[in-house]
């Protein structure tokens, strides 16, 4: 029986890891479809530790930050128990770590402490999960009920939370049944003291079954979760790390430069100017971005890292005043589009083309035009995402390639070109304020 369990376990693990890495590779390839990014001052390890590991920006909102921290810490610490579960699964043993230390007071104490610690965290995570479910579904917090959350995104958010409850249930079933089977053997804070007494009426056979059910339920739940993540907003638990690492740390107000335009203009000013050689990629570049593949790989990594939490949209002045623009939707659309292109390439090869594009079919011009470049979305995002960067690239395409600028902007452009100011004033009057100052004195 033990051998059969071990074999099944190994087979299931291998299959799930195969599919996980296969999808992971696809996502990696999709991100590589973006153009190269010129990240001048990346956040590096420091921002990875502060922002991803330390969740610094989550703490801009205290209550969700603490709740989220409970789930996060429980998730991370439970991995210790998971290691044991994996080793038990591979070798057909039972609580390998416990048996390794059995007999030694310190060892057993340590084991019981770790498991008890995990149990306490699991309870905290459970409480947080329930509150999150209530907040999402009953309280209808505005950022969770916006139009872009209808359908799959809403379900995605809930599935994960129910899943979490199932995993915690399995852990306690496993530990509790174990504690009921071997009274006094372990000393798990919650299972020994609360759950085992509740299970004391069951027969030994039932308890064994419960223990196995909890064990298999937990590990299969974890493996299934692993394969679900890449399709979900929960990818952020992995990608938040590289995303924080590659965060560009220039002042937020700086807009990315377009060196090929600099060359053209310098050549215009000075006929003898010889442009610095640009890479072939840069030379063939469109001006701005029309489709997801015109964006940088960092933009695409951003899109895959997005947790769809809506903090950006909540803070967006355009969205707050009823405009169509929602920075979260920008990120979700970008991810959907690059996934679609990735699928197409998988089926039809590198030459894949369809009739669609990010700008137009996913994100409308109206959305792109409504942004005030206020950086509130960038500021709020807990996983270092920059929706504004994508919006500005789409705008560039609209203006430079499609010449679709609103008439008022054309007037502004003409004024700048002819009068050196965005309004129609004569450049001769630029220092008039000075005379008025002298007059006043």
């Amino acid at each position: 029986m033990q051998y059969i369990q071990a074999i099944i376990f190994i087979a299931v693990t291998l299959v799930t890891f195969y599919f996980f890495f296969k999808k992971g590779k696809e996502i990696y390839n999709n991100i590589q479809l973006g153009r190269s990014a010129d990240i001048q001052n990346k956040g590096g390890l420091k921002s990875m530790i502060l922002l991803a590991l330390g969740q610094k920006k989550m703490f801009q909102n205290m209550i969700p930050a603490v709740l989220h921290l409970c789930i996060y810490v429980a998730f991370v610490i439970t991995q210790i128990e998971l290691i044991e579960i994996f080793l038990d699964g591979f070798t057909g043993s039972h609580r390998m770590f416990f048996h390794a230390v059995q007999g030694s007071m310190a060892g057993e104490g340590m084991y019981n402490f770790v498991i008890s610690f995990i149990e306490v965290l699991s309870v905290l995570a459970l409480i947080a999960t329930v509150i999150f479910l209530v907040r999402r579904n009953l309280l209808r917090v505005p950022r969770f009920v916006m139009p872009e959350m209808n359908g799959w995104p809403k379900m995605d958010g809930n599935i994960i939370l129910y899943w979490e409850i199932f995993l915690v249930f399995c852990i306690f079933l496993m530990n509790g049944a174990d504690a009921a089977l071997y009274p006094g053997k372990y000393g798990f804070l919650i299972s020994d003291n609360i759950i085992a007494p509740m299970l004391s009426g069951f027969s030994e056979g039932t308890l064994h079954f419960m223990e196995r059910f909890g064990w298999w339920g937990h590990i299969l739940g974890v493996l299934a979760f692993l394969n679900y993540i890449p399709y979900s907003k929960h990818l952020h638990i992995m990608l938040a790390f590289p995303n924080a690492y590659y965060l560009e740390e220039t002042p937020a107000g700086k807009v990315e430069n377009m060196p090929n335009i600099t060359n053209e203009i310098k050549a215009m000013f000075d006929p003898n100017f010889t442009p610095a050689p640009v890479s072939e990629e840069a030379a063939n570049e469109k001006f701005g971005a029309k489709d997801a593949t015109d964006l940088t790989w960092k933009n695409l990594l951003d899109a895959y890292s997005c947790t769809e939490c809506g903090r950006c949209t909540d803070a967006c002045p355009a969205n707050q005043t009823g405009k169509l623009l929602s920075p979260r939707k920008i990120m979700m659309d970008t991810r959907d589009r690059i996934e679609e292109i990735g699928e197409g390439i998988k089926k039809e090869g590198k030459e894949f083309k369809d009739e669609k594009a990010l700008l137009g079919d996913y994100i409308s011009e109206e959305e792109v035009k409504a942004c005030t470049s206020c950086n509130a979305c960038v500021q709020e995002c807990p996983v270092s995402i920059n929706p504004l960067n994508i919006i500005l690239q789409l705008r560039r395409y609209m203006i430079l390639e499609e010449a679709k600028s609103p008439e008022e902007w054309n007037v502004m452009f003409n004024n700048i070109e002819n009068n050196m100011a965005p309004w129609q004033f004569s450049p001769m009057d630029r220092d008039k304020w000075k005379e008025e100052l002298e007059e006043a004195e």
């Binding site: 801009q60 220039t250 002042p251 937020a252 107000g253 700086k254 430069n257 377009m258 335009i261 203009i265 310098k266 001006f287 701005g288 803070a315 002045p317 355009a318 707050q320 005043t321 009823g322 405009k323 169509l324 109206e366 035009k369 409504a370 005030t372 470049s373 206020c374 509130a376 500021q379 500005l392 705008r395 560039r396 395409y397 609209m398 430079l400 600028s405 609103p406 008022e408 902007w409 007037v411 502004m412 452009f413 700048i416 070109e417 050196m420 100011a421 965005p422 309004w423 004033f425 450049p427 001769m428 009057d429 630029r430 220092d431 008039k432 304020w433 000075k434 008025e436 100052l437 006043a440």
Partner: protein
């Protein structure tokens, strides 16, 4: 500047006035206030006058990179021609562009926003604050400009100046990193807003009125326009004044 050059003088500071500060009647008052402060502190400064041109900020943010770079390269040529090292400006948009975006195109200057300069001048004792001036004890709130605040991390300088006024500084419910945009940035100043339920400045006006302040301090000529329009529409008598104007009024410069 040209005159100084002809006289063989090199000023310690260039005052970049900006288009709003040069042409917009309301913003011109900010320009004159800053000039008065500089005079009062006996800081020798120059302006480019008719040689100054739009930094290109609205063009860049509207997606017109060509026009932006044309303006930028032209301005850099002018500034370099005069050997400018240090620039002060009362416009956060000019500030951001000159400071963060010109270096990549070859223009390297020390750029300082006027709120920082005024803060320094107060600290150094060069601006002598009058005791018990007209703003003493008055409720003043400060509206964070996106291009000063989130874009460049300047939240404290303007507030420090307000504290020096002995005013009662109250915060709006959304302030500092969470400050709500006035609606002008990203070239929105130059077009109507897209369809929606409100204009952004109307949304911000709610915050201003809720704060119960008598004066809203601003540090950007575009915020100035947006906030004043929003308040006017509500027939509110809350005044919007620039940090430089507050200093001038307090000290009767």
């Amino acid at each position: 500047m040209a005159e100084m050059m002809a006289a063989g003088k090199q000023p310690e500071l260039l005052f970049w006035v900006g288009c709003a500060g040069s042409f917009d009647d309301r913003a011109k008052k900010i320009t004159r206030s800053l000039a008065k402060i500089l005079h009062a502190c006996e800081i020798e400064f120059a302006i480019l006058g008719q040689e100054e041109a739009c930094t290109g900020d609205p063009a860049r943010r509207a997606g017109n990179e060509y026009l932006f770079q044309m303006m930028a390269l032209q301005n850099i040529a002018t500034l370099d021609n005069y050997g400018i090292k240090k620039i002060v400006t009362a416009c956060p948009h000019c500030f951001n562009t000159l400071k963060n975006e010109y270096p990549e195109l070859g223009g390297n200057y020390e750029v300082i926003h006027h709120t920082r300069l005024i803060q320094d001048l107060i600290l150094e004792g060069r601006i002598k604050m009058k005791e018990g001036g007209s703003f003493k004890g008055k409720k003043i709130t400060y509206h964070d400009s996106c291009y000063l605040g989130r874009a460049n991390g300047i939240y404290e300088a303007p507030r420090a100046v307000l504290e020096a006024l002995d005013a009662d500084l109250v915060e709006m419910k959304r302030c500092k990193t969470k400050g709500l945009c006035c609606g002008a940035g990203g070239a929105q100043m130059f077009k109507e807003e897209e369809k929606g339920s409100l204009r952004i400045n109307q949304e911000r006006t709610k915050d201003m009125i809720e704060s119960k302040a008598e004066v809203v301090a601003a540090a950007c000529p575009f915020c100035m326009t947006m906030l004043s329009d929003g308040l006017k529409e509500k027939e509110s008598n809350v005044k919007v004044l620039d940090i430089a104007e507050l200093i001038v009024q307090q000290n009767e410069l």
